[in-house]
Symmetry: C2
Subunit: 245 residues, 2 copies
């Protein structure tokens, strides 16, 4: 038995998220079906991140155990030949059977993309949140600097989430311009449910002048979801990369 | 009665091309339906370019005549509110009733995008032709220089096309790299049926070493479709811009 690690990219538009669920087409199920077609085995994919419906990925990670003789690196072309064009295996390798894609991850990078302008290009609408108002990028950068660090992120977590602790470390947030888009690049050791989308909504409130950068510390310390900004739509979010030791 | 000129951008993936036809969802019909919802009028859109099924546009142009009191520039937000996200009105203005979007166009720019690499990103597959082999960009540039000019482009026209003359002027072809993509930017006074996709197929043959740049002149002079390269897939093609005097 070998454990195979897959790096998976997908356009989340057509999927009800990563995680298998009855009556919905999900990324995990679609990849499991491709593995079945290739190896004849019914495997269970163990994913690093259960991205929500509509969220994209360039580098989600998942493992499965197999008896198949397919060489580890050949799972890339072989599985891609069974997958739809909106899901791609970007890399495959054998890992120790003890490797766990979620528990062994020590850093993740997400991007949240905001298109600013009157008319969102039709080739971009699946991948951005569309705003018509100009954003103050300098103010957003200052606000982001207060979010970076180790904090209890209760204010930035969807109400009702059940986790042992809401303390997380955000190691970096970059606010950059990419043509007509503003890109929030967020890195950290782990993220609470909807945390990036709430950080994005809070930084947009700052960019619009509704929240001052200096108010961020109070929002964090208040430990109350209602203090932070709105949860921005899933389609602007992309899981870019996961780091392992 | 006023004549309104629309600049239209679309992701052609979900449409059977521009031109209205029975039993198929087309871009023209979708925009006409939006105009009907806004003005109550049954209009006929007259388009500059009848893009094929799957071809994209950033700047196709069309006109319609209306009695509606909507200010000319307000057709942008008003029509966009009735259109799906994969079709966007980018600009609207009133033009003289004599303005003809096809006959008055004096230059058009198209882009053909080729992704070169093993795995095509899932956010890009709708907009590129995917090749795994490396292309010799310098050879493609040299070949392109022989295509630029006024020629009978019979060799670069889909067989069976009915036009008075196949003489056209290609004013510029740029072959550029954009990350993992090679972009062919082609400008000219007008193009024959499939002409850009056949130019792209011929330049790819050059990039792969199957055709020498110096053979291009003979391909043009032979006036025989079978001499040129294949017609590359529609999805790599985008109509970028149309110029009017």
């Amino acid at each position: 038995m070998r454990r195979i690690k897959l790096t998976i990219a997908y356009d989340g538009t057509g999927y009800c998220g990563w995680q298998k669920q009855d009556g919905a087409v999900t990324v995990a199920e679609t990849v499991e079906n491709a593995i079945r077609k290739l190896t004849g085995e019914d495997v269970e994919l163990l994913g690093a991140s259960r991205t929500d419906s509509g969220v994209h990925a360039m580098g989600n990670v998942a493992v499965f155990d197999t008896e198949s003789p397919v060489p580890a690196d050949r799972f890339v072309p072989a599985l891609n030949s069974f997958l739809p064009d909106d899901i791609r295996i970007a890399a495959s390798e054998e890992v120790p059977e003890s490797f766990h894609p979620r528990f062994d991850a020590h850093k993740k990078r997400y991007e949240y993309r905001i298109f600013v302008g009157n008319v969102c290009p039709p080739m971009r609408f699946r991948y951005v949140h569309h705003l018509r108002e100009t954003l103050n990028v300098d103010a957003m950068r200052e606000a982001a600097s207060y979010i970076v660090g180790t904090h209890d992120f209760t204010s930035f977590c969807a109400a009702g989430a059940q986790v042992k602790t809401k303390v997380r470390t955000v190691t970096d947030i970059q606010v950059t311009k990419d043509g007509d888009e503003i890109v929030l690049t967020v890195e950290g050791d782990g993220f609470l449910y909807n945390m990036i989308r709430i950080i994005a909504g809070t930084l947009v409130n700052v960019g619009l002048g509704r929240t001052k950068p200096s108010e961020i510390t109070g929002i964090i310390e208040g430990m109350d979801r209602s203090l932070a900004g709105p949860t921005l739509p899933a389609k602007g979010l992309c899981l870019c990369k996961i780091w392992y030791s």
